[in-house]
Symmetry: D2
Subunit: 301 residues, 4 copies
Amino acid sequence: MTTSIGTQGRPSVAGPGSTGPVGYSLPLSPTGESAMLTPPPWHFSGEVIMVDYRVDPDAARRFLPPGLEPGADPGAAAAVFATWQWCSADGAELTDPGHCQFGEFLILLSCEFEGRPMARAPYAWVDQAVPMMRGWLQGMPKQFGVVHQSWPITVGKAGSRLAPGGRFDGALTVNGRRVVEASVTVERTTDQPPALHDVPLAHTLMFPEWVPSAEGPRPKLVASEVSDVEFSPIWTGSGDLTFFAGLGDDFQALAPLETVAGHVFSYGETLHGGRLLSDYSVSNGISHDHGGPSAEDPLHS
Amino acid sequence: MTTSIGTQGRPSVAGPGSTGPVGYSLPLSPTGESAMLTPPPWHFSGEVIMVDYRVDPDAARRFLPPGLEPGADPGAAAAVFATWQWCSADGAELTDPGHCQFGEFLILLSCEFEGRPMARAPYAWVDQAVPMMRGWLQGMPKQFGVVHQSWPITVGKAGSRLAPGGRFDGALTVNGRRVVEASVTVERTTDQPPALHDVPLAHTLMFPEWVPSAEGPRPKLVASEVSDVEFSPIWTGSGDLTFFAGLGDDFQALAPLETVAGHVFSYGETLHGGRLLSDYSVSNGISHDHGGPSAEDPLHS
Amino acid sequence: MTTSIGTQGRPSVAGPGSTGPVGYSLPLSPTGESAMLTPPPWHFSGEVIMVDYRVDPDAARRFLPPGLEPGADPGAAAAVFATWQWCSADGAELTDPGHCQFGEFLILLSCEFEGRPMARAPYAWVDQAVPMMRGWLQGMPKQFGVVHQSWPITVGKAGSRLAPGGRFDGALTVNGRRVVEASVTVERTTDQPPALHDVPLAHTLMFPEWVPSAEGPRPKLVASEVSDVEFSPIWTGSGDLTFFAGLGDDFQALAPLETVAGHVFSYGETLHGGRLLSDYSVSNGISHDHGGPSAEDPLHS
Amino acid sequence: MTTSIGTQGRPSVAGPGSTGPVGYSLPLSPTGESAMLTPPPWHFSGEVIMVDYRVDPDAARRFLPPGLEPGADPGAAAAVFATWQWCSADGAELTDPGHCQFGEFLILLSCEFEGRPMARAPYAWVDQAVPMMRGWLQGMPKQFGVVHQSWPITVGKAGSRLAPGGRFDGALTVNGRRVVEASVTVERTTDQPPALHDVPLAHTLMFPEWVPSAEGPRPKLVASEVSDVEFSPIWTGSGDLTFFAGLGDDFQALAPLETVAGHVFSYGETLHGGRLLSDYSVSNGISHDHGGPSAEDPLHS
């Protein structure tokens, strides 16, 4: 591996050798400037509409890989709509709003790793290619969807203000079919973040093997290291959540039994990289904790 | 004409007669519920990034129809990026964020009608079909474009806050080509709205004749009646504005000679309908003012 | 009205006067080159997947305006998916495939005007802004949708050939919801065009009044003049058609009772303009035929 | 690793263990049905517009990883627009045209591996998420772009027929900017496939390391195994190709010095998987050939 400096002043990981094209990711190019992805850290600032809900605990358990346990509240789940701006360390993407913005929807399931509360995202959709690919490199199963959500207004009449009774909606369309709708009506503010948005996410890092090996793919259970987590005051109230047909029985098994609460808030974080929780390819029920990073990812991205 | 009540409780204008399909607009249907457009009033709440700039006064004059004069400041122009939520009187669209949101970019030219300061929008683009069509019914020449603009953040590091030095960008792509980019860096707040966003818009209402008539199409100079105009505090500073090739020489003639200022603010209004300023088909230099509505459209939409 | 010559060598209809901006349509500009629409004639070449089906005759009748009668086969209907290329007389758009291509879905109902077989399109969707707006200028109620359809293959295995047993699908998504799916399995070729694709379309030309008049809007029943109609051999067989919820009860009333046949073919035409069948604003049950154009529109667009 | 059977009858690779969620790719789910990607083989049938051109040989060389040499014709390159249908072994995707179709643009550079003629794709763009992700799993650096290309017509006047003088255009927009335009005018048919479309592609398989290792990422040089390659008659003539600014200096270094020929044809193949050409992480200039598969990928996808 060779480290060179790309034209944007970012360190580039060499591809095939010191004389070949380089880059943090594909596409590799002479200077590394063509890489689709920039290396972390990445900053995120987003607007979130979130519904806490109850899921069938048995259904949720079937989505947990070895190493993750249902934990103290096995039927706790959440549906999260978020509209993000993101940028790399140097902030270069921020002058190009078509590049640095995306919408996201994801499902969170309550779980534990070695007794520590975490969340599992069995499904996620985004509306831009860069965060989709970046998700896979973290083990976050982002697919492509069309995501819409209300934003709070401060003037005029076309929307709700962040005030008691304000209503905020989210909708997800996948492959031309409406599959999720959510609605939150806020009543009061709190400084207490929603539980499932304030614990680390445990992802399974796994790529299909293009050149088959004897052992098969080696999935890894990973968590992300984050810093600079910041919440706005959280507007809390009630939530509605509906799953429509179209994504298959596995997804449908996570449909809401009842909703618990709804939240609207702003959220920021910086994502630095991943750490290994458990390497399935070498462990046989023996978990390997690899020491204590300063913080883990309350969310992503 | 027959007035019936559609299923959404809205008055519907009959199409061809009491026994035929009805609707405020096409498509006509038995109850009128299928109409693409709802009748006014429409409420709008939006986030605006605006650059005041100077244009060649002669170029601007060539975009003014008879009845409009260059006015006291003939080279004043503005480029406006806006992200809108809209709804009809009953607010029904607000629960469907994919339907009630759109992005817009437009150019404004300073002008006068009978000595009264107004603005002319020679070009406008939106990213949704309903506001495009609704624009044409008002005489506003909205075409389809891809519009992106920064939004202010309140937490995290991925963007600018509304604070001195905050930078906000806008970009317009038309038919696959980037044609406009703008950037505003804000320095201070003011309660004084930007001049070109605080005067009525004068549109030319004109449709091509599908069944040719002897007289040809009858363009009308119209203005819009609005109420409930609301501005947030206006963040003001400097602006940059670039036009790229791709839209033709007529558009390019309105390229900036220099920029004057930049603004970021929120804006709300309610749009009630149009009034005739001048009917070209019957006037020969004789303007007809049709009396005093309570207010005219500072912007649109 | 003044006629000038735009920069593309096309005649431009003056807007407000000889000294003002001109154009065949909005936006008006000094030379007319900025007009979103070009004047007819327009050429169309398309690939069509069509399902003939039976609709409730009473439901169909409620979509017919005065002047149109159900005719000899009142329950005959069709669902048409088409992928088009179009161009103006000089063909200029053809070098820009992102501009000259669009997808369309429409419903056709059998009807008669003064004893002559015609078709009525109560609903249509396209995936580009120019054909949507051009539809309204003809009275064709085009809205925005996402349209997909299979294309026949000639090599490889990823699709069907135009051969017995070949299957071709179409799907329409409107506002993020899948609302129509169709499938045709072809069995044999014929030179007989599908009946509803081979009769003129009768549209209602109507725009909401922005400046309200005492009389209200004046809808007109119009037909289009076409020439150079060309069909490929028509592959015919069976068809499936499903309407899903999401477009309201009026649309749903036109859902298929049964399907009759399916067709796959290529189609070309040149569209020259419209002619008046009946002017509702002056007629009281008295129809006015305005003479005999050489041909009327078998389809559109 | 555990192999189970998903609900679609496809073998699923287990994720973290026999009791956890499974799938060929993320997202993992109880039955494996939620996986974004299906396992190979995949069938492809496409329509291709291709321009052979000359590139600066030194610029091309800088895009070749260790193991690939410039070969006998070091300045040979091609720009390829293609519109694809694809499906898995069971053809399930074909009934959903919005899912099984995509557009693609890619650059090909002539090269050799151990004396054998191959092609290198330094850049590729597609307009759908599934083929983008599937590309990365093969080492093909697909990014997201908006791709348009003319299709040949057989009736009407809105386009060109596959006949002498027929013109076919392609255009690529990336991140809102037009970056490539191509045009081919065909003159005659041949059975000789274009050279760069008839050799295997050599990709670099590399993912950024989310959990950093001591060695860094291990890029691998791989080729794909294909079968059932099928070409239509190839229409050949002249080609034009233009690169516009917007993708950076590395991409621009591959801009055309001159164009050589243009081609329009249909193409089919079946893609079975990858084989290792060279493992950079263990080789030090020593190439490892891993035996002879029946065929390698003339193109991809």
